[in-house]
Symmetry: C2
Subunit: 285 residues, 2 copies
């Protein structure tokens, strides 16, 4: 090829710079038959592009930005079929929609986690008793067949495992960003016996669609006590019961142990967590 014929042709570096892609990318596209240089010098192997090839490169980059695979793009470009392109674009649009929903869910999960870290940081010292208004909450539970207060942590973990599979079946992931809890029936708690009734996770509005094993905890005033070790639960629950009696509060529902994990960073859950034991109460008139 004569030099004057090359005047409208761009060597690979110029072509790359003009289009904001790397030289290696252009070589890859050549190799993959996506964009062949207008002319390749048979002696030196140098690639020369026609300026007008930028429009095809545009198309490729456009589709790549839309996250289509190179082989898909090659197929589309080879077929030169407008209907096919339109179909792919419509499918892409649907996919973008889904991705946006996923991102929204991710955002919610991150927000929840950040809030829970904040909460952990500002949690009261162990032993603090408080009276709080707590909003309505949705829970997803597993009924408790064994008494893990007696049979130990391993039994508890097994039940959690059950909850976990339940969650996985629902395709409701991000187990982490929900906090967990256990409940004891009002009657048992009032007798001073911690017999576990349910193990559950607190969910958000997503949860309400999945009906089985989901229930509502009513909003209301709760007597609460904070602690930072599982081992202290039984004595603290007793203190809470005493507190309610001293103040003549009427216990109006089940006892709940809410497990606020800081962030499950460590291999054992024992460290870096705190618990908020709570009973709903009403006041005697």
């Amino acid at each position: 090829m004569l030099p004057e014929q090359k005047q409208n042709l761009l060597p690979i570096g110029k072509m790359a710079a003009a289009n904001g892609v790397s030289i290696a990318t252009l070589r890859l596209y050549d190799q993959m038959d996506l964009l062949k240089p207008f002319y390749t010098d048979p002696d030196s192997g140098y690639r020369y592009y026609d300026i007008r090839q930028t429009s095809r490169l545009d198309t490729i980059r456009y589709m790549r930005d839309l996250d289509m695979s190179l082989s898909d793009i090659r197929d589309i470009l080879q077929k030169e079929d407008l209907t096919l392109i339109e179909e792919k674009l419509i499918a892409k649009d649907a996919q973008i929609h889904r991705q946006m929903q996923e991102l929204k869910a991710m955002h919610d999960a991150v927000e929840r986690t950040i809030q829970s870290i904040e909460r952990y940081r500002k949690s009261p010292t162990s032993g603090t008793i408080s009276l709080e208004f707590i909003n309505r909450r949705m829970i997803l539970y597993t009924p408790c067949s064994c008494n893990f207060y007696e049979s130990g942590i391993v039994a508890y973990e097994k039940i959690i495992q059950d909850l976990r599979t339940r969650l996985m079946e629902m395709e409701l992931p991000q187990f982490l960003s929900y906090s967990m809890g256990t409940s004891v029936r009002k009657e048992d708690f009032e007798r001073g016996e911690l017999v576990p009734d349910k193990v559950f996770i607190f969910g958000d509005s997503h949860l309400k669609d999945y009906s089985p094993n989901v229930c509502l905890l009513e909003s209301g005033m709760y007597a609460c006590i904070y602690l930072d070790r599982f081992d202290d639960e039984i004595p603290c629950a007793a203190r809470l019961l005493d507190y309610c009696r001293e103040n003549r509060y009427t216990i109006s529902g089940d006892y709940i142990c809410e497990e606020l994990t800081e962030f499950n960073v460590f291999d054992n859950r024992q460290r870096s967590m705190f618990l908020r034991l709570q009973v709903p109460i009403t006041f005697q008139k």
Copy 2:
């Protein structure tokens, strides 16, 4: 290790099933020091996990779902620093925000492209003259120093190249999904001389923030003629001018040649495009 000590330990397959990950993934996490099995048999090399390690795995999966890299996750888990985790999460949240905006932009671009394909499909036959109301449009332009009607397509391509780099500098990608155009000043057009004034792309509302070289085309009635080849522009423009004169329309602004590319699938832009030549007009009272 004695068999009874293994009773609370899960071999890799059970652990994988319980957490909805693959065996290979667990092995990878082991290798990458993300999650070491609680016990590894020194003879057989078999991995045994403690049930409680699921919480760490949760954390890893959570961060993976948030698209963090394994090495980032390892660093976070090693540091065990709550502040660091929170920082990362906040950064992640910001990134999710950006991604959502990107997706929005992608969606818009896809919509635009689909519309332009529809439009191409339903375009009138070449030579059709029409009177249309056209809405206000924003354009990003490059002033035209040379007359490509005379000096040919290569000069035109060079100007487009200039526009392209301008767009790239603005980090406004997806050149493809905007249609292009050229304009001729009213006075020149009325004299029947096509002297190019600007080369531009039509943008949407994004564009208005970037002030230099952006301008507005007012809404109004336009006399238009459709054609499907660049070569026909000059005679068609002449026909359009005649048409305006015959009907005693007053030309109220610059002549515009709008290049509606179907989709830049092919190496040369010539094929599969159509043009809409247009002049804004007012009616004599």
